[in-house]
Symmetry: C2
Subunit: 218 residues, 2 copies
């Protein structure tokens, strides 16, 4: 299980206690869990599907900060002080989320200090991941960035064998390149045998080779 899987790391009883506090919401592709400026009055756990967290930059450019997979928790940072959301969260496919009002979530944490510690860990690791991404986005070229990105995602994705259901546009938006560049590079990695790409199904064929592409700058 991925270390980012919050729900999976809770004891069964704690998990059901938490989910008992939650309202379930189903979302279709393109629906928002929340958007920039919404009140940050709830915390979410993704039960099924895939979500993306992003901001809109200059000229309408969508910059993806983070993809969320089942079991992961999100919406934590703005919630404690009920500030406006700083990012938008959108369903990449049909999703289900558990929504917990922040007041209840706080009570829950007070009653379960272990969970509170786990969250501290999760936030710290997310800060670390973001810092790492910043470093490689600034220092690497497009090919290495995309390779690193795929390695990272495969480590967190639930069924990497079947492939990641990412569009080229999404890959471009998280790697900070143009859609056409993403297409070109995915094609190249496919030719070299690192990936197995088939219309929207990107699977890693040779993890070693992919890691080698991730580590070189040329």
């Amino acid at each position: 299980m991925a270390t980012t899987d919050f729900l999976g790391r809770l004891d069964g009883s704690v998990r059901s206690a938490l989910l008992g506090q939650a309202r379930r919401r189903k979302l279709r592709k393109g629906d928002f869990v929340y958007r920039v400026g919404d009140p940050g009055d709830a915390v979410y756990v993704l039960l099924a599907g895939r979500i993306k967290t992003y901001k809109i930059a200059l000229r309408g450019r969508e910059v993806i900060l983070w993809f969320g997979f089942p079991g992961e928790v999100f919406g934590l940072v703005e919630s404690p002080h009920d500030r406006a959301r700083m990012v938008s969260v959108e369903a990449c496919e049909a999703c289900e989320v558990a929504e917990i009002p922040v007041a209840r979530f706080r009570e829950f944490l007070a009653a379960h200090p272990v969970v509170s510690q786990l969250l501290t860990q999760i936030i710290a690791s997310r800060l670390g991941m973001l810092a790492n991404r910043l470093v490689y986005l600034l220092a690497d070229n497009a090919e290495a960035r995309i390779a690193k990105l795929l390695v990272d995602l495969a480590a967190r994705s639930p069924g990497p064998a079947q492939g990641l259901g990412l569009t080229h546009q999404e890959i471009a938006n998280i790697a900070g390149v143009q859609r056409q560049t993403a297409t070109r590079i995915l094609g190249r990695l496919n030719e070299h045998g690192a990936l197995a790409v088939r219309y929207g199904r990107i699977a890693i064929r040779d993890r070693e080779l992919l890691a080698r592409f991730a580590a070189r700058h040329a």
Copy 2:
């Protein structure tokens, strides 16, 4: 006072209680507070000087994550679990820091829940700042990146009137450009009257104009 000024936001008595727990360390330019891999067994408050937090990327490239100014706290993220440091912190000039062993810091937080909340806020805001930087680094061109960076720094820097004592190399390393590019752009911003640059003393002359450069992509 900048909202990031941890020490400045503490009550006088709380502040002296905290500093009473600390060992003071003086550093010269180039000294490390800690380096990647060191044990994360202490938390620091910067008392004087300026520090930079960075990682080394491919090909020895230094990517600066964050500049710290007096009053700011750092070393928080790895500490609660005493993990190895994920970043290095180096003095940019003569500095003084207060070093608090993590065990004592934890006791202190338990005794002062207000401070604990403040830290949650600080970590959240740092996550937000990092996310913002990621967005503009991916979406903007070199000129807008450097302009935004200077606006951000001026907002946190103690005496922005006298100018920021940053080298072109440091600006390059945080904006993710080449040193020569930083020089070229600083020269341009100087010509246009947005900055007043004089050998290592970069002062903002026209904040409005600089913000305009930060907001355009061309």
